[in-house]
């Protein structure tokens, strides 16, 4: 009972906090301090609500308590100034009048824009977004990124300081800036999702939660900006990728590549939702990298068995994606798709064209190993798998690559 109650309170708090934060930041014109005040109000709520019962209007309660804290803070700062400077105070700054009844979707976007401010590094923007928009505690964020809580608290506090020092008011950016700012927001959500989706030994649970948080944020942004095709595209991409989670690792947590996954384990409900979203986004006609990646994931989702994959379509989509992003990593996937359509030689030729653009990246070696294996060059494939295994920084991936090399070595020894 109590546990269920606490769960309910936690959910309610996480939903109400971002709206309360926007209201308080608007009223006092200070995002950084308002964020602190709302965090403190949430702690009060978590202490008081279980005993005193839920308030009628939880968001209103948080706004009220956080505003009182803001006023106290302003008063005590004014008092300190008075003592120090011995000048007559004109009284505490009067907060501007009641906030205009703003659109709730705009509120959410505004909050995301502040948290994903262009002056912030990705790591800072991620931490701030998870706290201020997703409503996670500093401790939860620290655990997810495997750093001490104090380190994460500092990262968040410095991020808020950076936003404050940018001098940007807590208000919607000009219309012509919004597209660019939304791209930063989508990027941060995408990074949170990838962080959660990368299997990392010892921290799998915390990281799976990050993927769920990213999807939740993706839903919030898609709702707030329904006309933005890339917001729909990103949500579709995350859902279509998440659908494969039950099949992507074995019981020991070792990676299973796409072509060996048990596709009956894929979550058809997520796939259905992802495909519908993608259809809606594509219909708007402004193609972008998330829609293209989602379209590729949807092609894989469509094939009940790997050999039924429409590789021509996948190859064409990777070609478009490479044009849109100019990212050489995309070329690796295009090489694999080209090999599926025209044979391994075609894929290897594409890799050779890449030259040094990727440097010593493990995925370049893993891809080349895979294509050499297809071509029947075992010795060459083993050397490339070994190289890839030494260069990767992900333990399940290292185990997987090492085993590919070992399997080829074992079969050459037999043959």
């Amino acid at each position: 009972m109590t546990c269920k109650r606490n769960h309910e309170i936690e959910g309610l708090l996480r939903e109400s906090a971002p709206r309360a934060l926007v209201a308080v930041a608007r009223r006092f014109g200070d995002f950084a301090d308002a964020e602190d005040a709302v965090q403190e109000a949430m702690i009060d709520a978590a202490r008081q609500w279980p005993a005193q019962g839920l308030p009628e209007n939880p968001t209103g309660w948080l706004i009220h308590v956080a505003s009182r804290r803001m006023t106290d803070r302003i008063r005590s700062e004014a008092a300190r100034r008075d003592r120090e400077q011995a000048v007559a105070a004109e009284g505490p700054p009067v907060p501007p009048g009641a906030p205009a009844e703003a659109d709730e979707a705009d509120d959410t976007l505004l909050l995301m824009f502040m948290c994903c401010h262009p002056a912030l590094t990705p790591a800072s923007a991620i931490a701030l977004t998870l706290r201020a928009v997703a409503g996670l505690t500093t401790g939860e964020i620290a655990a997810a990124f495997l750093v001490p809580e104090q380190t994460m608290a500092q990262r968040i506090s410095r991020a808020k300081k950076t936003v404050k020092e940018s001098g940007e008011p807590f208000a919607m950016p000009a219309a012509e800036e919004r597209g660019e700012r939304l791209r930063s927001v989508l990027r941060v959500i995408y990074l949170i999702f990838n962080e959660g989706y990368a299997v990392s030994a010892g921290a799998e649970l915390a990281r799976a939660d990050l993927a769920a948080e990213a999807i939740r944020l993706g839903r919030i942004v898609h709702l707030a900006a329904p006309a933005e095709p890339e917001a729909g595209g990103l949500l579709a991409l995350m859902l279509l990728t998440e659908a494969r989670r039950p099949a992507r690792a074995d019981e020991r947590g070792e990676l299973i590549p796409l072509e060996e996954q048990d596709r009956s384990l894929w979550d058809q409900a997520l796939i259905g939702e992802g495909r519908a979203l993608l259809g809606g986004a594509l219909a708007r006609g402004a193609i972008g990298e998330y829609q293209l990646q989602a379209a590729i994931a949807a092609e894989h989702a469509k094939a009940p068995r790997p050999e039924q994959t429409n590789w021509r379509e996948v190859l064409a989509l990777y070609g478009l994606l490479e044009q849109v992003t100019g990212n050489p990593m995309v070329a690796l996937n295009r090489a694999i798709a080209a090999a599926m359509v025209d044979g391994p030689d075609a894929g290897l030729a594409l890799l050779d064209q890449l030259g040094d653009t990727l440097g010593e990246h493990h995925r370049l070696h893993a891809t080349r190993a895979h294509l050499l294996e297809e071509q029947g060059d075992r010795r060459g494939a083993v050397a490339e798998y070994e190289r890839a295994a030494r260069l990767t920084k992900n333990i399940p991936e290292r185990n997987y690559l090492t085993k590919r090399a070992a399997r080829l070595n074992a079969s050459s020894a037999e043959g």
Partner: protein
């Protein structure tokens, strides 16, 4: 008492071949053994952290230089066998227990399921500095 159990690249007898020359099943058995050991430490309330370090090729040595620009030496290094490969950080009741855990780590199976006899360096971690 906190101990750091350290493994270096060269801490395995020469008779043990590189992992890519094991069978896939032998690799699985080794990985499962290491994970089970971490699970046991977690279950007993002794686990603090365990990490592998990226390959020596990615290592850099950095030395401050008077001119103001530090001297950075990139790998690979001839002495890479002495580089750290990974560590376990444990919090245990006694040095005996730390040695017992290190011995278990050293007994992780390799080819034909035989212990690879990885050399484990056991170092007690000093208390934190006094903070004001």
């Amino acid at each position: 008492m906190k101990f750091m159990l350290l493994q270096e690249y060269g801490g395995v007898p020469e008779s043990v071949p590189p992992m890519t020359e094991w069978t896939p099943e032998e690799i699985d058995a080794h990985v499962t053994y290491q994970k089970d050991l971490n699970a046991e430490l977690t279950e007993r309330g002794e686990f603090v952290d365990a990490r592998g370090l990226a390959a020596p090729e990615l290592a850099k040595f950095v030395v401050w230089d008077e001119s103001g620009s530090p001297v950075v030496t990139d790998g690979p290094f001839p002495e890479s066998k002495e580089l750290l490969a990974g560590f376990r950080l444990i919090d245990v009741e006694s040095v005996e227990r730390a040695v017992e855990i290190a011995a278990k780590g050293s007994a992780a199976p390799g080819p034909r399921g035989e212990p690879i006899k990885q050399r484990i360096e056991v170092r007690e971690v000093m208390g934190p500095p006094i903070t004001h």
